[in-house]
């Protein structure tokens, strides 16, 4: 559009805005806080963001299609605990274990989709119940204790740094590439968006609601599994509860990135800086010397302030 000024265009581009916000926070923080802007630290922030970013990839898809996935935390935990347990000894590469674990994660997502599509259970209830269910199952399987990983590929994923770039970040880049393609360059992306914005019109336009919901939830399960695997690699240990912190953060990253929580509008391009923003904020608050209460207040206020900038366009 020719009429629109630069700022106007910027304001209408939540992903870009969120990216600029991240840059701004980084610059201000490194000028004021010793050590914050160190290359190593920023790299570490990105590495942590990768986990959130990958879970939030699935969350983005599901939210775009008008749903929500409250089971991602549980799926991460399931993957992180099951992967070491099911990696067969005869496979030195560890890839078989990974494939199995991701299959399980995707199957859980698929079940969520089935609940949605065929049992007509609202997403929020279906996935919440699934999380509770998995919690019980896990205690049963793992007896509630942590398992250490010996899977070669997973350890490599958590520790390798080809050309100084942590493997987790590389994985995230790949995921981003795939998800952005999926949303913007494949028919399914447009179908998910249409479903999220108006399921009835989409159905009458020949979009198969059930099938696309199934695909969306399955992918969400898959990406949560992928994140669980990365987390396992970074921690070397999976335990019950390891995925819990990623539920709310994955949703927050999506919304901070300008995607409508009601579905039908947004892109993963916003989620990426959204995830970085969240981790950055947490890191900032951690180094402030204040009581727990004050730190909590500061964290909330900072999120709110960032939202005022990046979330402006996300009106209903």
């Amino acid at each position: 559009m020719k009429g629109a000024s630069f700022t106007e265009r910027l304001l209408r581009n939540p992903p870009l805005l969120t990216f600029l916000l991240v840059a701004l926070v980084w610059i201000v923080a490194s000028l004021t806080l010793r050590g914050f802007g160190a290359y190593g630290h920023l790299r570490y922030i990105l590495e942590l963001s990768a986990v959130i970013g990958i879970v939030a990839a699935g969350q983005t898809l599901v939210i775009l299609l008008g749903g929500i996935d409250l089971s991602v935390g549980a799926v991460i935990t399931v993957t992180a605990i099951l992967l070491p347990l099911i990696s067969p000894d005869w496979d030195p590469t560890g890839l078989v274990g990974i494939a199995l674990a991701l299959l399980i994660a995707a199957a859980i997502g698929f079940m969520n989709g089935v609940g949605q599509a065929f049992l007509k259970v609202p997403a929020i209830i279906m996935t919440l119940a699934m999380a509770t269910f998995l919690q019980g199952l896990l205690i049963l399987v793992a007896g509630g204790s942590a398992v250490s990983v010996t899977n070669k590929a997973v350890i490599l994923l958590g520790s390798a740094r080809p050309a100084g770039v942590p493997a987790g970040i590389i994985l995230w880049i790949v995921v981003s590439f795939v998800v952005l393609l999926l949303i913007h360059r494949l028919p399914i992306g447009a179908r998910l968006l249409a479903l999220g914005a108006n399921p009835l019109a989409a159905r009458l336009s020949g979009v198969d609601v059930n099938r696309n919901s199934l695909i969306g939830y399955t992918l969400s399960g898959f990406f949560a599994g992928l994140a669980g695997m990365l987390l396992l690699g970074m921690n070397r240990q999976g335990y019950v509860g390891i995925g819990d912190p990623y539920l709310m953060t994955s949703i927050a990253a999506v919304v901070l990135g300008g995607t409508s929580i009601l579905g039908g509008r947004g892109t993963y391009a916003g989620t990426i800086p959204g995830a970085i923003l969240l981790v950055t904020t947490t890191a900032l608050i951690t180094v402030v010397n204040a009581s727990a209460g004050w730190r909590s207040v500061m964290f909330g206020s900072l999120i709110l302030a960032l939202l005022l900038v990046s979330g402006r366009e996300a009106r209903r």
Binding site: L70, G115, L119, K120, V121, P122, I124, I125, M126, L128, A129, M130, A131, T132, F133, L134, Q135, G136, L137, I139, L140, M248, I251, A252, V255, L256, S260, I261, L262, S291, A292, G293, W294, R295, S296, V297, M298, F299, G300, S301, I303, L304, L307, L308, G311, R312, A314, R315, R316
Partner: protein
């Protein structure tokens, strides 16, 4: 003509219709209550019923607080922290010179005030409620922790006895709250909650003060959550800065179980209240059946899905 029925009959006819989609849920909840009463006949005594309803009461209040927002097209992730803050404020003020009355006033102000501020941010800045309240949840938790870094404070024993003793006062209050809600719904502002939730533009053009409705619903929701906190303080005799946190997810679960839609304008409060009752009675039934913790988690997941899926299937089956 049939519609020229008597005066109040329109009101009751509207009410009757709202029950239709909820029959399935009523049956599920009823079945659970029967099973529970069968296993624990003490439920049917005054004392037993009192205790049961006291344990359900705060969940019922927060579910109403959540449903109120969801009907209006909003949602709050700060319900739990607000319960904590309500409990903290009650426990801190009631032991001071302000006394119980002062404490009550303080809790009411805190609930209404925080709710209204949140509502104003959502309504005027046009930010998504889910993330505003997520940020709010950290801020409110922080305030509760600053006010009362560790559990403590004090609520006079007579108040605890009154609200959470061996009489069903809490249940009575719940009924009053429901009546209050019905009265509110019968005000133009109350009807506006549905209209704004369903079709904000249309409501605006019909002369409904959309922003004011949003703010009022957040304020009332905040009030309910803070009052739930006051009750928790009375029930436990003290304040705890983190006690309310789990209520957030439970309030959403209760409301959605009760058929309240995510997008606004869909559902009824009675459904939400029923949903919260199911969540509550489920805990007792599982205990009396003697489920081990693992089975409790699994069963809970299955029951929740079933409670939504079974009525849906029944509906489809009846239609076919």
């Amino acid at each position: 003509m049939s519609m020229a029925e008597g005066m109040g009959s329109l009101y009751f006819a509207i009410q009757r219709r709202r029950n239709r989609g909820l029959v399935g849920l009523y049956l599920v909840v009823g079945a659970f209550l029967v099973v529970y009463a069968f296993m624990f006949p003490g439920l049917l005594t005054i004392g037993g019923f009192s205790k049961f309803s006291q344990n359900w009461f705060p969940l019922a209040l927060v579910t109403m607080a959540q449903a109120l927002l969801m009907l209006n097209g909003g949602i709050s992730l700060a319900i739990g922290p607000l319960v904590s803050l309500g409990a903290v404020v009650a426990a801190l003020t009631m032991e001071g010179p302000a006394g119980v009355l002062g404490g009550l006033v303080a809790v009411v102000i805190v609930g209404l005030g925080i709710g209204a501020i949140t509502g104003a941010i959502v309504a005027y800045m046009r930010l998504p409620a889910i993330i505003v309240t997520l940020a709010g949840s950290f801020i409110i938790t922080g305030i509760a922790l600053i006010l009362l870094p560790r559990p403590g404070g004090f609520v006079p024993d007579w108040l605890s006895q009154l609200l959470a003793g061996h009489t069903p006062v809490a249940f009575g209050i719940l009924i009053l709250v429901v009546i209050g809600w019905k009265l509110f719904l019968a005000t133009p502002l109350g009807t506006g909650i549905y209209a704004v939730g369903d079709n904000p533009v249309g409501a605006f053009r019909s002369g409904v003060p959309v922003e004011r409705v949003r703010i009022v619903s957040f304020a009332l929701s905040g009030l309910l959550a803070a009052l739930a906190g006051l009750f928790v303080a009375a029930q436990t005799g003290s304040g705890d800065p983190v006690i309310g946190n789990p209520f957030t997810l439970n309030s959403i679960a209760g409301a959605v179980l009760g058929g309240v839609g995510f997008l606004g304008g869909k559902g009824a409060m009675r459904g939400a209240i029923c949903g919260s009752l199911l969540l509550s009675v489920m805990i007792n039934v599982m205990f009396f059946i003697g489920f081990p913790p693992v089975a409790q988690y699994v069963a809970q997941g299955v029951i929740i899905v079933g409670a939504v899926a079974i009525p849906e299937f029944a509906r489809r089956w009846r239609k076919a």
